[in-house]
Amino acid sequence: MKKYLVAALTAFGLSITPAAAEQLKVGFIYVGPQNDGGWTQRHDIGRQAIEAEFGDKIETVFIESVPEADSTRVIERMARGGAKLIFTTSFGFMDPTLEVAKKFPDVKFEHATGYKRTENVSTYSSRFYEGRYVIGKIAGKMSKTGVAGYIASYPIPEVIRGINAFLLGAQSVNPDFKLKVVWVNTWFDPAKEADAAKALFDQGVDIMTQHTDSPAPLQIAQERGLHGFGQANDQIKFAPGAQYTAIIDNWSPYYIARTKAVLDGNWVATDTWGGMDTGMVEMAPLTNLPDDVKAMAEETMRLIKSKELHPFTGPIAKQDGSEVAAAGVVMDDGALAGMNFYVKGVDDKLPQ
């Protein structure tokens, strides 16, 4: 009886929903506004890239500023609306994605930055730390005070990995390099990021990098005649005299490949962690730098791309001096994925 009731109601529901067209509907769930100038905007550029690539064969839809706490409902609405491939683009959508995926076995899901997979849920992320290592090396060369500032959002492995990679890069050039970290507890609040940048500059750092999305810290660097790096997007427009380079998230190649897989009928759930070699991590043009530093940065990128260099190659020590990786040993992906310690030289205590 119960079963029939559910079936009847579902049928009623589906009958009202507009019939799905011939096109493949690809959906995107965004955690921020579509044009946030950072994380979400990069995903949206990926969405536009598949529209350009496949034209009439597909249709894309998105819902922006989806609160993670309420996302199950929203993802379900998208699946009910006929989307057959859905990208959920924030860590917090992990369990909701799995929950909805269970209800809609014929819909393919792609969850960014998570670690849970099923038959119809893939995960994907970028090796942003490769870019962090490059900018760390630049900072090591360019800093006069030997101290950089790092505006950090939340203490999750992704952010901690970035901090460590940056410092390892800097120390490869200047072994005494130090890093001051300020946590702002937000991904995006320009005024707060600006305040944090000011405090760090006033405390004597002369290069700024940030794992938050707004260009505000770069704008402050520009005002002070100091330097920094862009995050997620090329932010040179905001600070033409201050940006050395920027780490750019480029999801387009991945999104195109996955959409093609669905169109060709050979999509299978996988885990992708792409770096510079796949084009998922890009660097903005090197600007405001002397030629020798540019050459060094380009050489580092080449080595990373060709897999000759891995940023997390030992010797790596924790803050207390204990060894994590011996000389010449490369940390494996499992250790990188769950990283929750600082390497030696970070002038901060990791929030626990």
Partner: protein
């Protein structure tokens, strides 16, 4: 000493938008009207300032646009809360929601565009003075504007006939009405002035603080401005202390982190809010002082009896 100078300079930036918005709200409240829509008015002010400044290349025109925008938003509030005597708390909340939505829509095409920064005024000689040079003589026009507006409001409220009438309307609208004052029109004027100042506060955010537009960029500063008015116990001079104190606490958390104070960053981020609660409590304890300055009719509606 250099760090101190640098700190004061950043505190001025953090305090100015609060001071501007709070000064306007103080006048509004002194006339007996509680407008909780400051956040919404600031946002619409910020987006208008940014849009006009970027389109015309002139931050000054941007500031004018922010004033017009703030006044227009305040006019919506005045229409509902004063003409239609709707509940002021709820109307203010509606205005904030409305402002969040409208500013987001107006600004959609300006996200990701670099802004036009309002330049600081440099007085040759004076600006280069050691220690106080840049603090006193190297600020931008809006910082000086915020202080001039505050001084003007302080003087007018205390010493002028206009101020007396505004206070009378806020303290007892029935008597003021009986004395022949047009309670409604005086309140409308006070509300519009509040909107003008909130618009300026928003302009400061998108033209000076971080010359860019992003959705919801006020991030709760409108509410802090309302809190500062209570903090000041409706005395303009104290508003100055309150705004600068709040600015200092806001920046202090980052300095504490940067020097490595071992406190979870969430607790440091909560500091400004906790400080606001504590200060509100301390201020409110002094009832005698509050009674002299609290507008007795704050938040109550007025419909003249015929």
């Amino acid at each position: 000493m250099e760090l101190f100078e640098a700190f004061v300079l950043t505190v001025i930036t953090a305090a100015t938008p609060l001071l501007l918005a709070a000064t306007g709200e103080l006048v509004t409240e002194r006339a007996g009207v509680l407008n909780l829509g400051v956040e919404g008015m600031m946002l619409v002010g910020a987006v208008s300032a940014f849009a006009v400044a970027v389109t015309t290349g002139s931050p000054i025109l941007g500031i004018l646009a922010a004033m017009v925008a703030g006044v227009s938003m305040a006019a919506i509030f005045a229409f509902f809360a004063l003409f239609l005597v709707t509940n002021q708390v709820a109307t203010g909340l509606a205005l904030t929601l409305f402002g969040l939505g409208v500013s987001g829509m107006l600004g959609a095409s300006f996200v990701g565009e670099p802004g036009v920064k309002l330049a600081a005024i440099h007085l040759p000689g004076l600006s280069e003075l050691p220690l106080v040079g840049r603090i006193l003589f190297g600020q931008d026009p809006l910082v000086y504007g915020s202080l001039i507006i505050l001084l003007g409001v302080s003087f007018l409220l205390k010493r002028s006939h206009v101020g007396l009438v505004v206070r009378a309307v806020g303290d007892n609208h029935h008597s003021a009405h009986a004395l022949g004052y047009n309670v409604l029109m005086i309140r409308v004027a006070a509300v519009l002035f509040g909107g003008l100042c909130a618009g300026l506060g928003g302009a400061y955010l998108s033209l000076v603080y971080t010359p860019q537009w992003t959705e919801g960029m006020t991030a709760g500063r409108g509410w802090i401005a309302v809190a500062l008015v209570v903090f000041s116990s409706w005395i303009p001079g104290r508003l100055l202390i309150g705004a600068y104190l709040f600015g200092a606490v806001t920046l202090l958390q980052f300095h504490l982190q940067a020097v490595g104070v071992p406190v979870p960053s969430q607790f440091l981020s909560a500091l400004p809010y906790a400080a606001t609660v504590i200060v509100l409590v301390v201020i409110s304890r002094n009832r005698r002082l509050l009674r002299t300055h609290t507008p007795a009719m704050l938040g109550s509606t007025f419909v003249p009896d015929k």
